[in-house]
Each structure stands twice: as structure tokens, then as C-alpha cells.
């Protein structure tokens, strides 16, 4: 039977997630999310305010990193490194898409 619901949220750059939401989405404990911030793998939107809110684009990245860390048995420093590398890959792929779009066929 088809189930119909409507709780759709775009995880885009203008949408922010709290540390609680990020922990829920990624399956990480909040302490581990804080560790990722300490490692510089995640950047809170308002570091001065002391509130740990993040750009929602990081959700997919952190979820992928968590899958990798579970499947490859990585520890938290390695998880932080994976998050950083995935961010770099995201940026490069976005730039590549932009450049391809601008190139005349």
C-alpha cells in the first residue's frame, strides 16, 4: 500500500540544522558532532553565539562519512578527515558542474 506524507525539507545552503537535528540525521552522538567541530571538519554558522547550528548541506556529507566510518571501521579523527574530504569533493563537483554548464556545446 502506498503511504502518503508530506514532511519534505530541502537540505540546501539557506536551511540550517541544529546540532540536535544533525545528530539525529547522522546517527552520531552530539559529543561526536562537537568533536567534529573541534577538528575543524564542521563549521557552525554562528560560532561566536555559541549556538551549534549548521548549514543543512552538511547533513548528506556527514551521513556519508558516518556510513564510511562504520563500514571501514574508522575512528573519530578519521571520520573528521572524511567529512573534510567529502566537503572538498562537493565543492569541486559543484564547480565542475558550473563550468560545464557555462561551456558552449
Amino acid at each position: 500500500m502506498a503511504i502518503e506524507r508530506d514532511d519534505a525539507v530541502w537540505l540546501h545552503a539557506e536551511h540550517r540544522v541544529t546540532i540536535v537535528e544533525l545528530a539525529e540525521c547522522s546517527g552520531l552522538a552530539e559529543e561526536v558532532v562537537r568533536e567534529l567541530v573541534d577538528y575543524g571538519a564542521l563549521s557552525p554558522l554562528d560560532p561566536v553565539a555559541g549556538v551549534l547550528d549548521f548549514n543543512a548541506r552538511c547533513v548528506a556529507r556527514v551521513r556519508a562519512a558516518v556510513r564510511l566510518s562504520q563500514d571501514l571501521e574508522l575512528d573519530t579523527p578519521a571520520l573528521a578527515l572524511v567529512v573534510s574530504f567529502l566537503e572538498r569533493i562537493d565543492e569541486l563537483e559543484t564547480r565542475l558542474r558550473e563550468m560545464n554548464a557555462k561551456l558552449p556545446r
Binding site: 514532511d7 530541502w10 539557506e14 539525529e24 540525521c25 564510511l68 559543484t94 554548464a101
Partner: protein, 321 residues
């Protein structure tokens, strides 16, 4: 039940040591992990590898697997030997899987003692599984939003935590605002939570089908706009397609090839409100076959014009020496 050769999946012999299993798994997992590999079928390949390793790394499950025998071919229908279930499964419900038909081997081993969701399910709340699916949309779907029936094959757990994969259809509404690589979270549409655990979520990874005219960059669109040399030189008003219908675009006189002409708010809608822009990139296209009159006119221009498109070559040569 279909037989799977877990040793072959990991590329090891049946007498491989636990260290050999781990080494083989790590090597294959790094190569085929769907979050790393862009190869087609990487996800299915990784699932095979992970399923094999999850079973063989547990000594009890490995012993149970080995007892299934080694004479089966992968994909062959088979039944475990008599007494197999009694030997390797515990609990009052033993015998429930006497009908092995249609059961996936992974579900059977996930339910065996020695770990898995079943072992702890009765004791604490467990959140439902998240599902992640790639959805291909046309640009028109992204413009207006759309609805999709997603057919998933998901594990369903009985009261004892025994899994069985079942088909499930989720009707997902995809609001406007999609673009390439964007993620949509559909809260609570994943697997059912247990013992008060929250339901999992469904994540959609958006992939846009290539469009014959428009190329997306974020929420902006790019379009090649071919112009005749005289349209570019003299200026013109030309009809330009957009996703919402054709519009007239004024071409300024002296427009150069490669120039980007912006049509504001004719791109894709942004999730936070507003729209991206459409950029028409000018291409100057010459007629490949000229009539006698056209040749005559081009000849007149060539004689009359002082325009030198390669003037900078000479300037560069002068400065270079």
C-alpha cells in the same frame, strides 16, 4: 531460498583466517563503497561484500553458513540441511523459518544469535532505518515540483527482531526547488522505529536528466543562443525558449560571441523563495552555404570594413620583441 557464496564475494578460500577475511573486506569495501565509488552497480556490489563479511566475521554465523554446504551454485535454490535450524537458532520461535522459500539468506543470518538487530531489539528503543534513494527528475519536474511512487525493498522486523525484506511503495511529493545533487529529507518516511524509537527518514538524492537545451548550474540555467553575424553586429530581437515558455530577448548591436545575456528569474525556483536566472550564451553562426547574393554582400563588407579581429596578434608580436 537462493544460495550466496560469501567466500567468493570476498575473494577468499573457505579456510580463510579471520585476519584474511578482514583484509579482503577492507580492500573491497574501499574500492566499492557507494559513498566513494562512482562505478555503476557499486552499491549492489558493496552490499554483497558487506553481507558476506557480516556473516563470516562472526564465528557462530560462519559455522552456520559453512554447515549449509559448499556444493551449491550462487543463485541456486536450496534448503538448509535437516536439523540446521535447531542447531544454530535458539528461542521458542525456532521453526518459524521452516518455510525457507522466498527468504533472503541475509535476513536469515541477520536473525541468528550472535548479534544483529534481533538480539537487542526487545530491550531498548531503536530508531527506524533511514532509506536513501536517487531520484531522476526532468528540469520541468524541478520547475513545478512533482510526485513519485518510490518502490523500495526494505527490511521488516517481527516481534523477535527477525528481518524479512518486503516491497514497500512510498508516494513522495517533491516540492519545487530541486537541482542537481540536492538532497530532500522526508521525515518519518523511512523504516519503523521499535520500542518507542522514532521512525527513520527517507532521503532523496536529486539527479537531473540532461535537457536538450538548458544546462543547470545550481538554480541558474545556461542556454546556447546561436545568432547570425548580422544579428550580432546590428542588434536584433530574437525569440528565446525558457522553461516557462518563449520570451523575446533584445540583442544589443555589436554583441560578441561568448557574451552572456541574462534573463532574470527564468531559472529554477529556489527552495528558500525566488528563482535562479537564465543565461543565454551567444554563439555566432555563419551560413554554411552562401547564395551568390550573400557572397556578394559579404565581399562588400570585407572590402569596406577596417575591422581586424586579429589585431592583437600584431600588437603582441611587437611587444614580445
Amino acid at each position: 531460498m537462493k544460495y550466496k557464496d560469501y567466500y567468493a564475494a570476498l575473494g577468499v578460500k573457505r579456510d580463510a583466517s579471520p585476519a584474511d577475511l578482514k583484509k579482503a573486506y577492507r580492500k573491497l569495501a574501499q574500492k566499492h563503497h557507494p559513498d566513494v565509488s562512482k562505478e555503476k552497480g557499486a552499491e549492489e556490489k558493496f552490499k554483497e561484500i558487506a553481507e558476506a563479511y557480516q556473516t563470516l566475521k562472526d564465528p557462530d554465523k560462519r559455522a552456520a553458513y559453512d554447515q549449509l554446504g559448499s556444493g551449491h551454485r550462487p543463485g541456486q535454490d536450496f534448503r538448509p540441511p535437516p536439523d540446521w535450524e535447531r542447531q544454530f537458532r535458539s528461542g521458542e520461535r525456532t521453526g518459524e523459518y521452516a518455510a525457507f522459500d522466498g527468504l533472503d539468506l541475509s535476513d536469515l543470518f541477520a536473525s541468528l544469535r550472535g548479534g544483529g538487530r534481533g538480539a537487542s531489539r526487545a530491550n531498548r528503543s531503536i530508531p527506524g532505518e533511514d532509506y536513501e534513494v536517487t531520484v531522476h527528475l526532468s528540469l520541468e519536474d524541478a520547475l513545478d515540483g512533482t510526485q513519485r511512487d518510490l518502490n523500495l525493498n526494505v527490511p521488516e522486523y517481527d516481534a523477535d527482531g527477525r528481518a524479512r525484506h518486503v516491497p514497500k511503495t512510498i508516494k513522495a511529493r517533491i516540492p519545487k526547488g530541486a537541482t542537481e545533487g540536492q538532497r530532500l529529507r522526508l521525515r518519518g518516511q523511512g523504516g519503523k522505529g521499535a520500542n518507542g524509537g522514532r521512525d527513520g527518514d527517507l532521503y532523496l538524492n536529486i539527479a537531473l536528466h540532461p535537457h536538450p537545451l538548458f544546462r543547470p548550474s545550481g538554480h541558474d540555467l545556461y542556454l546556447d543562443l546561436p545568432l547570425a553575424p548580422w544579428e550580432a553586429a546590428l542588434g536584433a530581437t530574437v525569440e528565446v525558449p525558457t522553461l516557462g515558455g518563449a520570451v523575446n530577448l533584445k540583442i544589443p548591436p555589436g554583441t560578441a560571441a561568448g557574451r552572456k545575456l541574462r534573463l532574470a528569474k527564468k531559472g529554477l525556483p529556489r527552495p528558500g523563495g525566488g528563482e535562479g536566472d537564465l543565461y543565454a550564451i551567444v554563439q555566432i553562426v555563419n551560413p554554411t552555404v552562401l547564395s551568390a547574393r550573400e557572397k556578394e554582400l559579404f565581399g562588400e563588407i570585407a572590402k569596406a570594413s577596417t575591422f581586424d579581429p586579429r589585431g592583437h596578434f600584431a600588437a603582441e608580436k611587437t611587444h614580445g620583441h
